[in-house]
């Protein structure tokens, strides 16, 4: 077994027992990146020298017995995380030359623990997309089959873990951007409750929906990484002051008596038969493990995608206004005045999907349309959130598909944005409701592509979500199957 095949937990144990050095481990991951990333394209920036220097520091810290949970563990970050002195592009040409002067909170917390950061990961430009084909650089390939997309927008983060190029990664999830690629790449991805992890230093797509979360090999690794970044941050007014429980403590308590809700609206005609079958088997396995199942209803599910594409694009149209070529990022100045400079810089810097969403959002907020679109969508959002709260009166967690199908081929949906938007149909509602949700591998299709199941938990009850996910893992080995790279 190669060092890069170890889980985060296994690495932690060996590092702390000093059976392994962080430098050796880091070198192994850097070698792995060099060997396979040419085929995957998960990394936009590899910070090898810095990583080795940090690994050496981590080893000293571990030698001195001053290690923290993540000291010396090689991780990688979606390029949406602002990193001091390290180019941060958000996979957009408009930020091609942007080197931030500061670290975001999640990154600072990882660094404070002495984690080793290997580099920055490819993604859909500004986290807008479900396939990674919207990267301003070239798209990421699925490690299970390079003809297929890894999902998006945290496609680089999921592919990186699946291809064993980092022990775990951080992604962000606005409408499914952690869970859907995790599902497509056969790894575990957790979107925490909105407010659980600070958004400070995360380039904003849609502020009321964006949330930072871990992508890792298994549920326990996710729990460990979440533990490191969760908790109140005074620099983010939307982060909550609730205490953070010990996520690993109750992980292995099992699902006996746990009520799992099956939302009627998520098990629909048109769901891919293989996905359907994998979920049925998962339900049976969890039933054998002692879980109880109840039918629940989320009646406003049909409106979620429309609601999401109004709210997220409205916020994006404003969040992306700062890319104007004045202070940082790309500037195209033909000497024809200020407005021309703004327009040319943005025309040259943004890709087509980003432009589409800026236009959609600008429209939704315009005078005369605001009430019909933005305000109405906010009302629908309240109803969707209420759906979930009602369902959680009857169930402790909900179980649903992550995506209607396994990963699709590159180019398959690029011509039809609506079709692409619908691939997030099962993940979007949890963002609108602001609650936590996780994708766990539960099968592999006949074509050899992973399938994931989604568990959705009560707001701020990530612990129960992790416990259910961990219990499911004990019923099989889907999470241990490596990508045939």
């Amino acid at each position: 077994m190669s060092l890069t095949d170890l889980t985060l937990r296994a690495i932690q144990q060996r590092l702390q027992a000093r059976e392994l050095t962080s430098v050796d481990l880091t070198r192994a991951f850097l070698d792995r990146i060099a060997a396979v990333d040419g085929r995957i394209n998960a990394f936009l920036t590899v910070t090898g020298e810095q990583a080795l220097a940090d690994a050496a520091l981590a080893d000293r810290r571990l030698d001195e017995g001053r290690g923290d949970a993540l000291t010396g563990i090689p991780l990688a970050l979606k390029d949406v995380f602002v990193t001091e002195g390290v180019r941060t592009t958000c996979a957009s040409r408009i930020l091609d030359n942007f080197i931030p002067p500061y670290d975001g909170t999640a990154v600072a917390r990882l660094k404070a623990q002495g984690a080793v950061l290997l580099g920055k990961l490819n993604m859909d430009e500004f986290a807008m997309g479900s396939s990674n084909e919207n990267s301003g650089y070239s798209p990421v390939r699925n490690p299970w089959n390079p003809d297929y997309v890894p999902g998006g927008s945290s496609g680089g983060s999921a592919a990186c873990v699946a291809a064993r190029m980092a022990a775990a990664t951080l992604g962000t999830d606005t409408g499914g951007s952690i869970r859907q690629p995790a599902s497509h790449c056969g790894v575990v991805g957790l979107k925490p409750t909105y407010g659980r992890v600070s958004r400070y230093g995360v380039v904003a797509y849609a502020s009321s929906l964006d949330q930072v979360g871990p992508i890792a090999r298994d549920v326990e690794d996710c729990a460990m990484l979440l533990q490191a970044v969760a908790g109140h941050d005074p620099a983010d007014a939307t982060s909550v002051t609730l205490p953070v429980p010990d996520y690993c403590a109750a992980l292995k308590d099992g699902v006996k008596g746990l009520k799992i809700g099956l939302p009627r609206e998520y098990f629909i005609e048109g769901l891919d038969p293989e996905v359907q079958k994998a979920l049925e088997q998962a339900i049976a396995a969890l039933g054998d493990a002692g879980a109880e199942f109840v039918q629940v209803s989320l009646p406003h599910t049909d409106y979620a995608v429309a609601c999401y594409y109004i709210i997220s694009t409205a916020e994006a149209s404003s969040n992306l206004a700062r890319y104007d070529g004045v202070r940082f990022g790309r500037r195209v100045d033909r000497g024809q005045g200020l407005i021309d400079m703004f327009m040319q810089s943005r025309a040259a810097g943004f890709g087509p999907e980003v432009k589409r969403r800026i236009m959609l959002g600008t429209y939704a907020l315009s005078s005369g349309y605001y009430d019909a679109y933005y305000l109405k969508a906010q009302k629908v959002r309240t109803l969707i959130r209420q759906d979930f709260l009602d369902a959680f009166d009857r169930a402790d967690v909900l179980l649903t598909p992550v995506a209607p199908t396994p990963a699709f081929k590159l180019g398959e949906k690029t011509a039809d944005p609506l079709q692409m938007y619908l691939s997030d149909i099962f993940t979007i509602p949890a963002n609108l409701a602001g609650t936590c949700a996780m994708s766990v591998p539960c099968g592999v299709s006949a074509e050899g592509l992973p399938i994931g199941l989604q568990l959705i938990g009560r707001p701020f009850d990530e612990a129960t979500l992790l416990r259910a996910g961990y219990a499911f893992q004990q019923t099989g080995d889907w999470h241990q199957r490596p990508a045939p790279l």
């Binding site: 500061y102 904003a204 502020s207 983010d236 007014a237 939307t238 404003s318 005078s367 605001y370």
Partner: protein, 478 residues
């Protein structure tokens, strides 16, 4: 000409708050430092940065709202106002639209005709300022973001003013209040108190408002009056000729004293306001409001009434003393020590003010503290020294930090009231001026002043005037 039309004016005032740090980050708000030296990821609008509302700004907004009789919203929203400009780092300004922090207030002003008028305050909201563009000669412009994210209150009046004089009275009153509260330094030149004026005309008797022009960013009371007066004339001329005023934004040109069009209604921005998702709704509890209410200082109106009532001084004196909070505080402290309201007001408005003007010091830095001055005034009241000598002592106190009594003693300034000491001096004077004595006795009684003057000269001003008079009259007539 103007009698045909009624002038309608509403004002929007931007008040820059005196908080040490900016509204959404921890950067300093000092004026005049090296460009971009007071910036951070938040006020630079760097990707990933997030705003966090400064509680002090909310305190100041509530304080200002309470002082202007506004209702304070228990829940208010911060909103984004979207537009592109190089001095606006995020491409939007965080401001308030729906649910501002304060609404439905009022201010009482005295119109030039001496009439008490109530001007409605529609709303007061919090917002961040933009940066500054520095235009070099040539084609280069530079951006200084030190001012970006500086806290402002926008105070919007109802269209309740009917002349430029009323507008100025309102502005001066508002200016006095925010400076009194300590929420604004009131410095017009540095832009701490800026005004936009909405001006329209309507035929007298008509209920509906006419079309308005908005006059932008005028930074002195004099210019505001000029701009409004010019605008009133301009609009009257248009209406007189049967034309129509168009709704537009106009800039005041200080050099020519005229206004010119900046942008019309068609070019008006669609700001696409929406609640800022980075900031949670602001909830203000009753306790919070009460806490601020308890810190509300006594405002000028109340102070003037109290001075008149408690200290028995003329209203004019009270108004002069209450115009600035520091002066009022000084006077208040002085009277509390000394007791004689009128003597104190004479001194504060007279000697103290003169000495401050001469040395260019603000009242707060007056070298003679109220307690020290009270010590001096007590010596006037108990006839230890005369008012004239007191001024001499005051000058010595100004320079030395010593109290009045020690200066009086050291310089031997104690007034001579002892008749036994004065009589020989009088005798000496009468002996030296026989002609004047004869003239006086012949009926030229105004010569008394001459003898007093001689006596003062000989006693270096220390003779008690009453005692002196008594002896003189007795000797001359007797």
């Amino acid at each position: 000409m103007l009698s045909k039309y009624e002038v309608v004016i509403g004002l929007e005032v931007h008040v820059q708050l005196t908080t040490d740090t900016k509204i959404f980050c921890h950067c300093a708000t000092r004026f005049g430092n090296q460009p971009n030296s007071q910036t951070c990821p938040v006020c630079l609008g760097l990707p990933g940065s997030l705003p966090v509302l400064n509680k002090k700004v909310v305190d100041y907004a509530i304080l200002t709202g309470l002082a202007t009789h506004c209702s304070i919203a228990s829940r208010s929203l911060l909103a984004r106002k979207n537009y592109f400009y190089p001095d606006l780092p995020k491409g939007y300004q965080i401001s308030q639209l729906e649910l501002p922090i304060c609404e439905h207030g009022r201010l009482e002003i005295d119109s030039p005709e001496g009439e008490r008028r109530t001007i409605g305050i529609t709303r007061i909201h919090m917002e961040e300022d933009a940066g500054k563009l520095l235009h070099d000669s040539g084609a280069v412009s530079r951006v200084d973001l030190n001012r970006a994210c500086t806290p402002l209150l926008e105070i919007v009046s109802e269209p309740d003013m009917r002349s430029s004089d009323e507008a100025i009275a309102y502005l001066k009153k508002l200016h006095q209040i925010v400076v009194y509260l300590g929420v604004c330094d009131g410095n017009l030149e540095e832009g701490s108190f800026r005004c936009d004026a909405n001006v329209s005309l309507r035929p007298r008797g008509q209920k509906e408002f006419g079309t308005r022009a908005e006059l932008k960013n005028i930074n002195s009371f004099r210019f505001i009056k000029q701009a409004i007066d010019y605008e009133v004339e301009r609009q009257a001329d248009i209406l007189d000729e049967g034309g129509r005023v168009i709704q537009e934004t106009r800039l005041f040109d200080t050099a020519s004293g005229t206004t010119r069009s900046m942008r019309g209604k068609e070019e008006a921005h669609d700001y696409r306001y929406f609640p800022d998702p980075d900031l949670v709704p602001l909830l203000v509890s009753e306790d919070w409001i009460e806490e601020i209410r308890n810190s509300l200082p006594e405002l000028p109106e109340t102070k003037i009434d109290r001075f008149v009532r408690e200290y028995g001084i003329p209203r004019y004196d009270a108004e002069v003393l209450a115009a600035e909070r520091a002066t009022a505080d000084y006077y208040d402290a002085l009277v509390k020590e000394q007791g004689n309201g009128k003597l104190c007001s004479n001194w504060v408005m007279g000697e103290v003010q003169r000495a401050l003007n001469d040395s260019g010091l603000p009242v707060a830095e007056c070298p003679v503290a109220p307690r020290q001055l009270a010590g001096l005034l007590k010596r006037i009241e108990d006839n230890t020294i005369s008012g004239k000598i007191a001024k001499q002592v005051f000058d010595a106190m100004w320079k030395s930090d010593r109290d009045a009594d020690s200066i009086i003693e050291e310089q031997g300034l104690r007034q001579v009231s002892d008749l036994g000491a004065i009589e020989p001096i009088i005798d000496q004077i009468l002996a030296a001026n026989p002609e004047q004595v004869a003239e006086f006795r012949a009926g030229k009684e105004k010569l008394l002043g001459f003898f007093v003057g001689q006596a003062m000269k000989l006693t270096k001003g220390k003779a008690n005037p009453a005692a002196l008079n008594e002896v003189l009259v007795k000797r001359l007539k007797g």
